[in-house]
Symmetry: C2
Subunit: 354 residues, 2 copies
DNA sequence: GTTAGCACTCTCATGCGTCGAGTGCTAATG
DNA sequence: CATTAGCACTCGACGCATGAGAGTGCTAAC
């Protein structure tokens, strides 16, 4: 049998690795040569299998916990499995329905994201995570100002039907309610719905035509608006659901390990860094074990996908669970959730009665 | 020695119970009769102690894990300990300083509450929890309404310099911007700065008074305002910090138990119910084990205190940890945190440069 | 009421032998 | 030359006995 693949692994070895990983995913036990002869479907004796296993071990795809146990896949083994050997199942209708029905579209983006996270964790029984969507398009719908005491002004930015942000800014002088009303009228008339960059350019052009002080206000208003968007971008955050699910899995069952993991969730930094990597790529991405560069995630895998609205990537979602995970089931769940979330976030979608 | 106490326990038994609990809190082991003779300071032989222990066991204050182990306190034993035997230490200056300095007063109420929760968990190495303050006390400064599409109206409630809340509400008919302006003018003129409860009472009175002659709008005003207030009040929630700290403690170290506990934190309902009980009482309250009525908290204790501004209770804070907990240290921490939080929340406080 | 003495109980750690699973190696085989 | 049967070997899991240590309850004496 000639090697039909460029890889270092022959076809037979690949097939055996596939069976081994599948079996190990199923029951979590080390897989012995006898079991493989039975399940591989190949007409090979255990002894032959052992030779192949020995090769696989030398190449780093599998390892033996101790001398007289079967083999379990290494991270490298899992990596090869998901990259080359995995055949993704199509999702059972019941799951698809669950996702479609139970995704809560009634609230704002935050509620939506929370709901998606819950669904992910519920369907997979792992921890679900979804980053909050960036408001990359940078358009506001309406802006209002309200005078506070002193020189402070409350700026309210209405992004869409559900999202409202507010900030208190310090201006260089006191503005009356009337003045502020004028400003907001002007801004809303001229710029509502426009991209923020356009707004700023236009304002800079107009700067001579308008009275000095009001202009200043507008400038700082635009600054604030920008801050709102930038902050949204920077303040990237994610919603975690079902982290306690992870306590069910034997491979993570020692308290030490779990604590590290939970702490990582709380600090968010490391998790966000990994999720960021997924932001660029499109489609489902898989991080196995320490591949991500973080020791904490040893023994864990992340299955992620970016989600997008109108072709623009707004965020990432996914699940985190033990590396020993039924990828063929988890991948389509993550994939579909990402698509549904993107759709639900799209104000133009026919499903959204905006 | 005559019984100098009305309780079922003689003085000597009480003293021995106290020493036993203290020792058990210190090292977590069952306490034997020999250890007690040594540490009690009483001129008694182990045999005598054993007799007393036997009595204490019959009465349910202590129990023996097995025949030939020492005794450990039961929940009832702990209860008696904290009620009658405990002498609270005064807090080391370093802790007081930590609390005073590290309580973050720069942000709004939410930031403050988060900071308090962190401090609680940091100082005790248990989980800290703080409910968000009810806004029932204060005055709202200003209210504004903004029409959105359909029957939706954006309601903005400015509570103080830092707190601005907004809600999107669904009204029974469409309001024009002018109508809404009238409404907010009316509300601000009549009620700005008034206590929210007064406002509500006044509004309810007005609804009878003016039902006939004033237009439909006014009725809607009442309804709208009511909705905002009610939602504010109902949204009782707490901020949890350092839950992973709990994974350090041996008595909670099995994953099963921890999971139940964490799930309880997530669902919030049970925890909130217990915290509510503490809302009535003033001063530090202690819930030991299942006293609270929830099985989940077996093996755990909550030390809570309500916090108040100007004599009005706004919320509850506390820590949750294993029942085997150095109460003499934890109690003053909770107590002081509650007082500091109340002070930091008080807009009239000289510390707050409002 | 208190105490010394003693038999008893229970946990925990240790060591030992056995079993089962699975391996690596070697020599035989088609 | 790849494949296979056979076999000795290794390792973890389990059950069992054993002994030490800690602490108790009971009884009889003080």
């Amino acid at each position: 049998m000639a090697e039909s693949d460029y890889s270092e692994l022959g076809e037979r070895a690949q097939h055996l690795l596939k069976v081994l990983v599948q079996r190990h995913i199923r029951d979590g036990q080390p897989v012995g040569s006898r079991a493989l002869t039975r399940e591989s479907g190949l007409p090979l004796s255990p002894a032959t299998i052992r030779n192949v296993m020995s090769d696989l071990e030398d190449l780093g795809y599998v390892q033996a916990p101790h001398t007289s146990a079967g083999r379990i896949p290494t991270d490298k083994g899992y990596r090869f499995f998901v990259d080359s050997l995995l055949t993704v199942r199509s999702l059972p209708v019941s799951d698809i329905d669950q996702l479609k029905i139970r995704l809560d579209r009634s609230g704002g983006a935050e509620a939506l994201v929370g709901s998606a996270s819950n669904l992910l964790s519920g369907l997979t029984r792992y921890a679900g995570l979804v980053t909050l969507p960036r408001h990359g398009y940078g358009a506001f719908r309406q802006m209002e100002f309200m005078p506070l005491s002193g020189n402070r002004v409350l700026v309210i930015v209405i992004l869409n039907e559900h999202e409202v942000q507010n900030r208190v800014i310090e201006t260089n002088r006191k503005f009356s309610a009337d003045e502020l009303r004028q400003v907001s009228n002007f801004l809303n008339r001229e710029f509502a719905g426009k991209d923020l960059r356009t707004v700023r350019k236009k304002l800079v052009e107009d700067i001579d035509h308008t009275r000095e002080n009001v202009n200043r206000l507008m400038a700082s208003v635009v600054e604030v608006a920008e801050k709102v968007f930038v902050e949204q971008e920077a303040e990237s955050d994610f919603v975690l659901a079902g982290q306690t699910n992870l306590m069910e899995y034997a491979e993570l069952a020692n308290v030490e390990k779990l604590r590290e993991l939970f702490d990582a969730f709380n600090h968010k930094r490391d998790v966000l860094h990994i999720l960021d990597q997924s932001l660029q790529a499109n489609g489902v991405q898989i991080f196995i074990g320490q591949e991500s560069g973080y020791e904490v995630f040893d023994g864990c895998s992340l299955v992620t996908s970016s989600y997008e609205v109108d072709g623009e990537v707004l965020g990432v979602l996914g699940v985190i669970g033990p590396t020993r995970m039924p990828y063929d089931r988890v991948i389509p769940i993550v994939d579909l959730t990402a698509r549904l979330l993107g759709e639900a976030l799209n104000p133009k979608s026919p499903l959204n009665s905006d």
